[in-house]
């Protein structure tokens, strides 16, 4: 791969991904590939999920489940603005005040 061509390669241990962009990044791509190949050694870990995740720090600290949750607002978002429709705040268009 030469400098200045139209390529950016990001290689994981499994695949190459190419994007057509002016290629200012071949060195970065090469380094990224090597880093990802290096950390791929972790596939030696059994993937059965029986190993409990280790968390340092006080036992009292408990992480929430790694999932998307609704924002923990004390009141619903519909109460925070004069108008709320289909999940969005309804605001006047700029210029309507003029």
């Amino acid at each position: 791969m030469s400098r200045g061509t139209t390529c950016f390669a990001l290689r994981s241990s499994r695949s190459w991904t190419w994007t057509k962009k002016p290629c200012a990044l071949p060195e970065l791509a090469e380094q990224m590939s090597r880093i990802l190949d290096y950390v791929a050694q972790l596939s030696a870990v059994p993937a059965n999920g029986t190993v409990k995740v280790f968390v340092p720090g006080p036992d009292a600290i408990r992480f929430r489940a790694d999932e998307v949750n609704p924002a923990p607002l004390a009141v619903g978002p519909e109460e925070l603005a004069p108008a709320f429709k289909e999940g969005f705040f309804v605001v006047p268009k700029l210029g309507q005040f003029e």
Partner: protein, 455 residues
């Protein structure tokens, strides 16, 4: 001449190291004011302590060695800084470091590389290289650094000073700019074990502002033991591989002999998952960094890089121009390993491996071993530029230090000899929250080891 002025003069003398980011003129003025305001009954009264540039201070800017925070002034002191001030210490300026503490040589700072205090062609280690270099050059007796994967112990080893990384949760992280939140911990450099331990004792203890800080009293300083009778020291075989630098091995063997002569029982032990520690670290730390560094967008902190047509372009130009190459690499790796389809292959596996590494330590400590002794680094300080184009080679200079961060354990690096004039460090790894035991053994080792003799 007052002490404050003498401190400023000493810092001027080592300007060539590029270790201090605070302009000396500002520092001189601040030191005089701090000295006048310091509490004379404080246990660190008048002690100058330099501070790594990723720990927030009211007096000086906090740039994290990055252009993206150039000139940023924190509106508050980190808890560690507030505790130092309350103890009468003088904050002796901010020290140069790898950008956002990402690096092992302090060559990744936007403000230029730090020079090794004994050899200008070499690096002081990193990422807290500025703090280590200032202590190594004798400009200050102690300095604060931060550890995510060895950023205090590795430069301490390279610069011939003592470096302590406390147990995760021993020192509040409030005001420490976040890099890898499950790994980060403020650490201390000192000319001696006693200097470092005194500072650690002051900054440790509970803090309601940091939920990951343990609800414990500050560390009580142990006394210097008469012998090491009753201590069982483990030598993990994975830390003494055949390819270890022969001089580093000789220095370690001499230190082990000296510990035995003082009555310590020494046993070979095994931490079998050690070979996976660096890859584990280089998944978890970038993953956490990619999330933590999302806040630097040109809107909330620091300078904004102009020429942006819209919000997205503003983010792109600020982050593109504000972050240096190593930070960009780690953000890219972090977002990649967290992305859909790769999360299980990289991040989840790394978390599982982290648990196995922590279990290795528990197994050894459960079998009656009190402390582990290892080399701190595989080699003495390397030449500037030697590993810049090879991130993996750079990462491997932390191979003996990352495990303590992954397992959240305390560890200390002590100078144990020299190779062709360059310092080598030996590392003691202790059990969680048993820093006092670790420091006791360190006192005994420091007392007996000829730290400036060739190994």
């Amino acid at each position: 001449m007052s002490d404050a002025k003498a401190v400023a003069d000493r810092l001027v003398k080592v300007k060539r190291l590029n270790a201090l980011l605070t302009p000396v003129k500002d520092l001189r003025k601040s030191l005089v004011a701090q000295e006048a305001a310091a509490r004379p009954t404080g246990v660190l009264y008048g002690m100058p302590v330099a501070v790594k540039d990723n720990i927030c201070t009211l007096e000086f800017s906090t740039s994290c060695g990055s252009r993206i925070l150039e000139g940023y002034r924190s509106p508050y002191d980190a808890t560690a800084i507030a505790k130092l001030k309350a103890a009468g210490a003088l904050i002796a300026g901010k020290t140069n470091c790898d950008e956002f503490a990402m690096g092992s040589s302090t060559e990744h700072s936007a403000y230029g590389r730090v020079i090794h205090p004994l050899d200008k062609a070499r690096v002081p280690g990193g990422s807290s290289g500025g703090s280590a270099a200032l202590v190594g050059a004798g400009a200050v007796p102690a300095a604060l650094g931060s550890e995510t994967g060895g950023s205090v112990r590795q430069p301490a080893s390279f610069c011939g000073v003592v470096g302590i990384k406390p147990t995760y949760g021993r020192v509040s992280r409030y005001g420490l700019v976040a890099f890898g939140s499950s790994l980060d911990q403020i650490g201390v450099f000192g000319r001696s074990v006693h200097d470092a331990a005194r500072v650690l004792s002051v900054i440790s203890g509970r803090d309601a502002r940091d939920a990951t800080c343990e609800d414990r009293d500050p560390l009580r300083l142990p006394t210097v033991p008469e012998s090491l009778q009753g201590f069982v020291i483990g030598l993990p075989r994975e830390y003494f591989p055949p390819e270890l630098d022969p001089a580093v091995r000789r220095a370690c063997e001499r230190a082990v002999r000296l510990m035995k002569e003082q009555g310590a029982a020494v046993r070979e032990v095994s931490l079998p998952h050690t070979p996976y520690a660096v890859p584990t670290y280089y998944v978890i730390a970038p993953a956490e960094a990619s999330s933590n560094l999302a806040r630097y967008d040109g809107v909330r902190y620091g300078p904004r890089f102009n020429g942006s047509a819209d919000l997205r372009a503003l983010y792109r130009s600020t982050r593109g121009q504000g972050f240096g190459p190593e930070v960009r690499r780690r953000i890219l790796v972090g977002t990649y390993v967290l992305s859909s389809g790769y999360y299980d292959a990289y991040y989840r596996r790394a978390q599982q491996m982290r648990a196995l590494i922590a279990q290795d330590f528990r197994n050894v400590f459960d079998r009656g071993v009190d402390l582990l002794f290892t080399p701190t680094t595989p080699t003495p300080a390397f030449r500037a530029g030697e590993k810049l184009d090879d991130p993996i080679a750079m990462y491997l200079s932390d191979i003996f230090t990352v495990t303590a961060n992954l397992a959240g354990l305390p560890a200390i690096s002590i100078p144990i000899g020299r190779v062709k004039g360059l310092p080598i460090g030996g590392q003691l790894i202790g059990q969680a929250f048993l820093e006092d035991e670790m420091i006791e053994a360190a006192y005994a080792l420091e007392r007996s080891v000829p730290a400036t003799d060739e190994a």
